[in-house]
C-alpha cells in the first residue's frame, strides 16, 4: 500500500526555516480525528497487505471453501474452522473474505488513483503550459467527460473491456483522469505566470525541464488533496460496480461483491453476509476521508496559521 503522506514529505513547497515535513506533520497532528483516521487506515492497509498470512482461509481458493458450509451464522464451528463472522452463501469465511476483499478494494483504489494522477496530471500540465489549441482540446474533452456521471462512464467502460481487476483499474482511470487534469491545470495556469517560470524560460531550458522540474513541484499540493479524496471515491466506485455484478470475477469477491451476495439474503435474516463487509467498506472510506480533509486544510496556503 502506498501511503499518501510519504509522497508529501518530499514534495511540499519550500517555506521558512523549519523543515517543511516537520511543520506539515505537526499541522496534520493538530486534528485528533485525522490522526485517528490515519491510524485506522494504516491498520486496514496492513491487514489487507498481510491478509494471506493472517486469515484462517484463502477465500479465493475453491479447494478450501465448501458449499456445504454455506450461510453459517457468526461463531459457527465446522470441522477445524471457526467462522468468527459467519460464512456467505458459497461457504466462504466472511472474515477472510473481508481481508481479501479489502486487498482488492485498496489495490484497485490506489492503483487507479496513481495512474489517473499521473496521466491526468501530465495532460493537465501540458494543457496549462502550452495553452491555445492544445489546452482547448484537452480541457473540452475533460469537460465533456465530467458532464457524465462517473458511474455511467465506468459502467460503459467495464462493459466494453470485460471482466477482471485490471479492466476495473483501466475503467476507473478513465473515469478519474479528468479531475486531476482540471485541478492541476487551474494551479498551473497561475504558476506559469510567476517569475521563476519566466526566469526558466529566459535560461532557454527545455519545455520538459520547465514543466516537470519547475512547474510540477509547485502544483502538487492540490493534486495530493484531490488524490486522497479520489482514492476513497475509487474504492466506492469499485464497490458499486461489483455490487452491480460487473467487473470482478465472482469467485474472487471484493467488498462490493460480498455485500451484493449478502443483499440477496437480507429478507431471510442472514444479515452478516452484507453487514460486516459493509462496515469494513464504511470504515475504510471514512478513514481515508478524514485524512484527506485534514490534508486539504494543512496544504491550503490560505488557511496558513
Amino acid at each position: 500500500m502506498n501511503m499518501p503522506d510519504s509522497i508529501l514529505e518530499e514534495k511540499t513547497g519550500v517555506v521558512e526555516g523549519q523543515p517543511p515535513w516537520r511543520r506539515f506533520a505537526s499541522d496534520f497532528c493538530e486534528s485528533r480525528l485525522a490522526v485517528a483516521g490515519l491510524t485506522i487506515f494504516v491498520l486496514i492497509a496492513l491487514s489487507a497487505i498481510f491478509a494471506p498470512w493472517i486469515t484462517p482461509q484463502d477465500p479465493y481458493d475453491l479447494m478450501q471453501i465448501d458449499i456445504l458450509d454455506g450461510r453459517l451464522p457468526p461463531g459457527s464451528v465446522s470441522g477445524e474452522m471457526t467462522y468468527l463472522l459467519g460464512t456467505d452463501d458459497q461457504g466462504r469465511d466472511m472474515l477472510s473474505g473481508i481481508f481479501y476483499g479489502l486487498r482488492t478494494s485498496l489495490s484497485v483504489g490506489a492503483a487507479s488513483t496513481l495512474i489517473a494522477l499521473f496521466l491526468g496530471g501530465s495532460v493537465g500540465l501540458i494543457a496549462a503550459y502550452f495553452g491555445g489549441r492544445v489546452d482547448t482540446i484537452i480541457m473540452r474533452v475533460a469537460d465533456l467527460q465530467l458532464s457524465f456521471p462517473a458511474i455511467l462512464i465506468a459502467l460503459i467502460l467495464v462493459s466494453i473491456l470485460g471482466q477482471g481487476v485490471d479492466k476495473i483499474i483501466i475503467a476507473l482511470v478513465g473515469v478519474q483522469w479528468a479531475y486531476y487534469a482540471r485541478t492541476i491545470r487551474g494551479t498551473a495556469l497561475v504558476e506559469r505566470r510567476r517569475e521563476y517560470i519566466e526566469a526558466a524560460t529566459c535560461l532557454a531550458l527545455s519545455h520538459r525541464r520547465i514543466v516537470f522540474r519547475h512547474l510540477l513541484p509547485n502544483c502538487t499540493p492540490p493534486l495530493i488533496v484531490v488524490g486522497t479524496v479520489q482514492v476513497a471515491h475509487a474504492i466506492a466506485l469499485e464497490a458499486t460496480l461489483s455490487f452491480l455484478g460487473i467487473g470482478i470475477p465472482i469467485t474472487e469477491p471484493s467488498l462490493g461483491l460480498l455485500i451484493k451476495n449478502g443483499f440477496d439474503y437480507m429478507l431471510s435474516g442472514d444479515y452478516w453476509i452484507s453487514f460486516y463487509p459493509g462496515i469494513a467498506l464504511l470504515i475504510t472510506i471514512v478513514s481515508i476521508n478524514l485524512v484527506g480533509d485534514q490534508l486539504r486544510d494543512v496544504l491550503n496556503p490560505r488557511l496558513q496559521r
Binding site: L62, G70, D89, Q90, L267, V286, N289
Partner: protein, 555 residues
Amino acid sequence: MKIRLISFAAAFAMTTLAPVMASAADLTVGLASEPSSIDPHYHNLGPNNEMRRHIFESLIWQDEQQKLTPLLATSWEPTSETTWEFKLRKGVKFHDGSDFTARDFVYTACRIPTVPNSPSSFTIYTSAMKKIETPDPHTLIIHTEKPYPLLPVELAVWGIISATANGVTGDITFNPDGTGCGITSFPQTKEFNSGQATIGTGMFKYGEYVKGDRYVMNRNDAYWGEGTEWDTVTFKPITNSAARVAALLAGDVDFISKPPTQDLERLESEPDITLSSMGSNRVIYLHMDQYGPSTPGVKGTGAPDGTYEGEGPCATSACEKNPLLDRRVRQALSKAINRDAIVDKVMGGYAVAAGELLPQGFFGTNEGAKPEAYDPEGAKKLLVEAGYPNGFELVLGTPNDRYINDAKIAQAIAQMFTRVGIKTSVNAMTKSVFFATRNKYEFSLYLAGWGSGTGEMSSPMRALVGTRDKSRGLGGTNRGRYSNPVIDDMIMEALSTVDDDKRATLLAESSRMAMEDYAILPLHFEVTIWAHRSDLSYGARADQYTMAIGINSKK
C-alpha cells in the same frame, strides 16, 4: 466534512398506492415478467403465452402436467400416417357473440405467418400443416407432408382468433405458403394491445392493458365451460423480486410468481402466505465443447496430438488439447458434481436432481433413470486413466440473470470440480452477453437451461443433443456440438413415428445412449414456486405458467 458513501437502491420499495378495498371476487397477481404484447401470435414467449391462454383458447389444452386434454376440440385422432381429424366443440361463442367454427381455425393459421416484426414467430407450429379441410363447421381434417406426431401438441401452443370479428365472412382456403391465404387485412398487433381485436373464446375478456403497469381482465359470463370465480383479475408486472415479495407481504397483490429462493424461509413462516410449487421440466445442464481437438477455455493439457477433419490441430492460440472429447473426462465431471448439495444448499430444496433431460414420468423418459451419484474419488481415478493425473484448468461460463440462482450454481460446481483437481473459474455474465458469447462457441463448458414446451423427450434431444444440422432441424441449441449419428437417426425416426408407444421407446433409448455417453450433463430440474394468500389455491403447472385460470379461493 463530506463522506462519500454508496447508496444502495432500497429494495424494500413498496408501492405507494393506498390499498384499494377489493371485493371478494377480485384478484391481483404480481408477475415476474410481463408479456411483450397482447397479440397472441406476435412473440412466442412464456409471459405472452400464459396471458394468451386466458383470452384466446386453442384447440387443445395442456393440463398442469402438460398432458393434452380437449378444449375447443373435443376429440382428435390420426386417420392415416399423414392426416388428423379434429372434432370441434359446438356452441362456443367469441367475446363479440360470433360462433366459433372450423373457419376461425383456418383464419388464424393463415394469419400466423403474416404477423409483421415478430421477434419469435409461431410459424414453427403451423409449418407442418400442408392442407386443411373443413367438411363441416365442426370438423377439421389436417394433412401433413410427412408423418407428424407432434401436431396435437403444437395445436395447443397457439390461440384462435375470430374471422367474423375481424371482418372475414366468406370461406377461407388454407394455403401453406405463408402469404395469408388471400386475406389482405389481418388485425395489427397494436389493435390487440388496444383491445380492439382482442376477441377470443376464453373465460376472460380483455379489460385494460397499460404496458409496464397492468393488464386487467374481466370474466366472460357467456363462457361455454365452467368459467372462473373472479370478476376481475389484474396482472401487475413487478420485475424486481424483492419488491414483488414486499408487495405480497404488504397485501398489494394476492399472488406472485417466482419468489426468490432466499426469501422462501421467510414466506413460509408467514401465517397468511402459502407457497405452491411444482417440479418444472426445465432442466439445468452443462454443455461441454466436443467439437475440435482444442477448445478455448482449457489450460494445462498440453498440445493436441492429432489433426482434426477440416481444421488444423489448434483452433486457438493457446493450442491445448481438448480433454472433453474423452468420455472418461466427461464422466469424471459428472461424478464430481454433488447434485444433492446444489439442490439443498443453493436451491433451498426447491429443485430435483436430474438423471435425464426430462423429469421422471414425462413422455420418452427411462423409468428409474437416476442422477449420477457424487463420487469425487471415482472422478479422480477417471482423470488419471484419461491421462490427466494433475487435472487441468477450465473456465465455466454461466448467465447470472437467466435461471434460478444460475451464477451461484456455477460457483458451487467450480468448487466441486476444483476438489477433484480441475481448477475451475467462473465467467458469469448477463444473459444477452452470455448467449451471444455461447453462440460464438467461446465456452468450453457452460451452464444453461432448457424448458420443454411440448413436454416430451423429443424436445431436449432434438435441440441439445442432435448434431447441428439446419436442414434436419437438429441441434438448434447444441452449442457443445456433441455429435452421434446413431442418436440423430433415432431422434429423426421418433419425430416421424405417430405410434405413441413406439415413439416413447425410441426417445427413451436415444436418451439413455446420450446419458451413457455423457453427451451433456443434466444437473437438476427447477421447481417453480408461487407465493400467495393462504386462502387461495393454485393448480401449479409444470410449464411454469402463472395463470388466473388455476387460481381458486378455498371454500
